[in-house]
Subunit: 122 residues, 2 copies
DNA sequence: TCCATATTTTTATATATATGGAATTATTGA
DNA sequence: TCAATAATTCCATATATATAAAAATATGGA
């Protein structure tokens, strides 16, 4: 991961509404949520939400797929994990015990197959 | 951690120069670095660096102690780890295996005693 | 006490970002 | 083909942020 990508991802998360959106998607799991449902839950005007989702998408933090009229947004866990790895990279000059950073491998990944109707737009 | 604190921390990191400063301090370890040395290594004007260090400090990502004429900045590893915990909180509705997030405990912490000359200003 | 060093604070200016109304595009079902 | 729904893009406005020159503060040594 490049420094510029990390700045983009951090900038995307550094906003109250977007952070809420992202955390909602992280908690929702790989199945994601339709934009309308996010807007409703967070009481955001649709152009506002659309703007924020685009930021998160360009930053590689969420993915989108169409399902009929709805666009389904989901957290991009790979993007998130890459970002966290970048922040802690080579911490304490390699002696991670100096700063309490998790040094273990990620939990074994369960692959979730998404409904494949519609076209993916990244 | 509150959402507002997370936004502050992410905003502090979402800037090219500050991200560089922070990563430099993360890699430098708990002993930290004097402001002048950071400015020199990153070729930043001192008021600019000072502004950025203040942002990181207010966001709880770095600490500062005085040593003679120098102010020594160090990464605040607790702050960083809290932030990452906040982002991944309750991911996949509790089934972390769904997204490959590290679920293990942080490495055992090695406490490093800092030189106690001067006053700590947070 | 005075000077040099290290760093911060103040201030001005330039630039980037957030918001929501209005118009637009895409999809489905009648 | 048309109306209804879901969401986006365009636009104007308000607000926040980054930068560095100049002035101010704190420390240590002569």
């Amino acid at each position: 991961m490049e420094s510029k990508d990390a700045v983009a991802a951090l900038g995307a998360l550094a906003q109250e509404n977007r952070l809420e959106v992202f955390r909602m998607l992280v908690q929702a799991g790989p199945r994601g949520l339709p934009a309308g449902q996010i807007a409703e839950r967070l009481k955001l005007a649709s152009p506002t939400l659309s703007f924020h989702l685009a930021q998160l998408r360009h930053a590689g933090l969420v993915t989108v797929t169409r399902d009929g009229r709805s666009l389904i947004y989901a957290a991009d866990y790979d993007g998130m994990n890459e970002l966290m790895g970048f922040l802690t990279e080579n911490c304490c000059a390699g002696d991670a015990a100096g700063c309490g950073v998790p040094v273990c491998e990620p939990a074994a990944r369960t692959v979730v197959r998404r409904r494949s109707r519609g076209v993916t737009r990244q």
